[in-house]
């Protein structure tokens, strides 16, 4: 933990102010830059710093589909709920997923009705629960991006080593680069640059964005989470846009390498293979998810249980899809703050701590304009 001391260097208020001044000067053009932060942790960091209100109006930050819980399709939530209702099943999950509403229920509601749903902090905790409960089926809900998937893969490997026959994974993992491509293909959205996620990039490496940059000529900057990281990330995007460049720049070099974590990726690729996947808001995206390889199907919950076809019902007014694609800000949704609140969330973006609606709600932003001006309700 010693290396966390250096974080103060990235929080220097004087340096931050001078970087903001530079951005204000550079942003003094008649062009408006729409920059997307794809990572939920970035979204929260930006809110916690009050950063949007400090940027010139020509630099707009748009939140993207970077909250794993939020992009999980309703049908996958419904399947998880179906699994929770099966006799002798213990569901193990990260806590964020608990309150996400599916078509008719949520894992939290199932838990208070008697389902055995347990919050874990790591996939290996689920293994321990499987060891402790040999007579029961332990299902781990694999939700998350490339950051989480290798740890789940490691748990599957360990289960195989121990011959744990009662452990399976329900894989709804998502891959980020295909989603970025889908966003750039969308007709209702114009983006000028990506602040690429810090955590995911530690695994996939800065190199993973080269294809997007080349194909769509859009600058990508892998960015950290501290104030100076974010400001520098934004600066490096604006600088490229002004000079007409489009490159991958790695701002977050203290954590992210160009090639990423090859060992973690190998582990992930050993257990999982890319598969078509449905994202909330973005729809079906080819090869954008991960499923358990046939070789490891013993540990695949979709093979262990014969799941029925589930009729998915979306909440009619919920606009999480548009929020996730960055075409709508939460206050523009008719349910926001009225029918949909963190106490009674109708959509996942309100549930998750990293969801865009939840962040807007927590910081009491009533309209996007007000947020720019630093006003709250």
């Amino acid at each position: 933990m010693n290396n966390l001391k250096y974080l103060d260097e990235y929080r220097d208020p004087e340096l931050a102010k001078s970087m903001l001044e530079t951005l204000k000067r550079r942003g003094n053009t008649n062009r408006t830059y729409k920059l997307m932060e794809i990572c939920g942790t970035h979204t929260v960091a930006i809110f916690r710093l009050g950063l949007r209100q400090l940027l010139p109006p020509t630099i707009q930050l748009i939140s993207g589909p970077g909250c794993p819980v939020c992009v999980t399709a309703n049908e996958d939530i419904d399947r998880a709920i179906w699994l929770a209702r099966q006799p002798q099943v213990i569901i193990t999950t990260f806590g964020d997923l608990l309150r996400v509403p599916g078509s008719n229920s949520s894992l939290n509601a199932e838990r208070s009705k008697g389902a055995d749903v347990r919050i874990v902090y790591a996939s290996f905790d689920a293994l321990q629960i499987a060891r402790d409960n040999p007579g029961r089926q332990v299902v781990f809900l694999g939700i998350g991006f490339e950051t989480t998937a290798p740890t789940v893969a490691a748990a599957v490997k360990q289960a195989a080593v121990e011959g744990l026959g009662n452990f399976t994974v329900f894989s709804a993992h998502k891959l980020l680069p295909p989603a970025m491509r889908a966003l750039l293909e969308a007709e209702d959205l114009r983006l000028d640059g990506f602040l690429c996620p810090g955590h995911v990039s530690t695994i996939i490496g800065a190199a993973a964005y080269e294809e997007v940059v080349t194909r769509y000529h859009i600058p990508c900057v892998v960015t950290g989470f501290e104030p100076l990281d974010l400001l520098q990330g934004i600066y490096l995007l604006v600088d490229q846009l002004e000079s007409g460049k489009a490159e991958v720049i790695n701002q977050y070099r203290r954590a992210v390498s160009w090639e990423g974590n090859v060992a973690a990726r190998n582990l992930m690729n050993d257990i999982f293979e890319p598969a078509d996947s449905t994202w909330r808001g973005l729809g079906a995206i080819p090869q954008s998810g991960l499923k358990v390889r046939t070789k490891w199907e013993k540990y695949d919950a979709t093979k262990r249980f014969s799941m029925p076809d589930i009729q998915v019902k979306e909440h009619p007014g919920c606009r999480c899809g548009e929020v996730l694609r960055g075409v709508m800000a939460p206050p523009e949704c008719g349910l926001f703050r009225k029918a949909c609140t963190p106490q009674n969330p109708l959509g996942p973006c309100m549930v998750s701590s990293e969801g865009t609606c939840g962040a807007y709600y927590r910081y009491h932003v009533v309209s996007t304009q007000d947020y720019k001006e630093g006003k709250t309700e």
């Binding site: 933990m1 010693n2 966390l4 001391k5 974080l7 929080r11 208020p13 931050a16 102010k17 903001l20 990572c39 939920g40 942790t41 929260v44 809110f47 916690r48 710093l49 009050g50 950063l51 209100q53 400090l54 794993p68 819980v69 990260f94 806590g95 964020d96 997923l97 608990l98 309150r99 939290n108 509601a109 208070s112 009705k113 919050i119 902090y121 790591a122 905790d125 939700i143 998350g144 991006f145 950051t147 989480t148 996620p197 955590h199 995911v200 104030p227 400001l231 963190p342 106490q343 009674n344 549930v351 701590s353 990293e354 927590r362 910081y363 009491h364 630093g374 709250t376």
Partner: protein, 336 residues
């Protein structure tokens, strides 16, 4: 309260707890003392004021770095009394024990209670024991109640904060919550994070000696500093401004929070007191805090203002502002 069963976040100490207490308990049990919503109730007995409080302890794990459920049960109730400016005198203890709990553990827990009571100079004068079948409770639950005497002239409560007050704290935030979380989840860092669990009555007495004009004292337990300050802002009808760079946070706690995506402002403390003190006595009170062993890292973290009533704002390090809301739901680590 639109769902039909109790949900876990209604016990998290945040907004859901607040609403359950208001809408159900205060509403049905209705009286002037409950309505005050302070850590203890102040009742008149033969012309003097007595503080009365009760609290239940269900912490998991029951042993954590820096304490256990027994010492916590004494510290927590002593602190609730001290937060009204009362001198804690007597405690009661009720035990709900799960069949199969090793007697040795129970012995250790009660021994720590005895030690904590000695240190806080209170007596545990009555008790109750119930045993429930295995699985009907989790090892051990403890309830403690306490009474204390409020010195004449002391008027401290969540609704007395005034614009111009300094907001002080006696040390680092989030230590207890992170100590318990790391222990429970087996997260290990270079050094074990220690809980700050401690009785604050002696510190509070020293603060009151320095200035009897303290307006508010509150211990930011569940829901953390953010939730407690929101309660004060609402009860007093004032706004509170915090300065991000003044918030004292231990490096290991900051690191663990960073790693898990948690905000230390919402993490529980068990040995911390937040004080709203008139500006002209703030320096004296702060000095008294800093010269006490439990207040070495005491500092001012913000101030009370007349605008934005019922709200807490934080000025960020880069000059932005953001609202600091009450805890909503449970805080969960991030997924990536």
């Amino acid at each position: 309260m639109n769902s039909g069963t109790i949900q876990l976040d209604q016990g998290s100490g945040g907004r859901a707890t607040h609403e359950l207490v208001q809408d159900l308990f205060v509403n049905l049990l209705e009286n002037e003392y409950l309505r005050e919503m302070n850590d203890s109730a102040l009742v008149e007995v033969q012309g003097g004021q007595i503080a009365v409080t009760t609290d239940s302890y269900v912490v998991d794990p029951i042993f954590f770095p820096g304490g256990n459920i027994g010492s916590l049960a004494v510290h927590g109730t002593v602190n609730d009394l001290a937060m009204c400016g009362a001198k804690p005198l007597y405690l009661t203890a009720g035990f709900i024990l799960e069949e199969g709990l090793p007697l040795e553990l129970l012995g250790q827990i009660v021994a720590s209670m005895a030690e904590a009571a000695r240190e806080a100079k209170v007596l545990i004068v009555a008790g109750d024991t119930k045993v429930v079948p295995r699985g009907k409770a989790d090892k051990i639950f403890i309830n403690t109640a306490g009474i204390g005497i409020v010195p004449p002239g002391v008027r401290i409560g969540g609704h007395y904060a005034q614009p111009g007050d300094a907001v002080l704290i006696n040390g680092t935030i989030g230590d207890h919550g992170m100590a318990v979380l790391c222990k429970r989840e087996g997260l290990t860092f270079e050094n074990e994070i220690q809980s700050d669990s401690a009785s604050l009555n002696d510190l509070v007495a020293k603060m009151l000696d320095a200035s009897p004009h303290i307006h508010v004292l509150r211990d930011p337990t569940r829901g953390g500093v953010a939730t407690t300050l929101n309660e004060i802002a609402q009860q007093s009808g004032v706004g509170i401004r915090l300065f991000d760079e003044s918030l004292p946070i231990r490096e290991d706690v900051a690191g663990a929070c960073e790693l898990l995506g948690l905000d230390p402002l919402y993490v529980a403390n068990e040995g911390k007191v937040l004080a709203c003190v008139p500006a002209d006595s703030a320096a004296l009170v702060l000095e008294a805090m800093q010269s006490h062993p439990l207040g070495k890292r005491a500092c001012q973290i913000g101030g009370v203002v007349a605008t934005d009533t019922g709200r807490v704002f934080l000025r960020t390090r880069i000059g932005g502002h953001r609202l600091v809301d009450m805890l909503r739901g449970e805080q969960f680590p991030r997924i990536c």
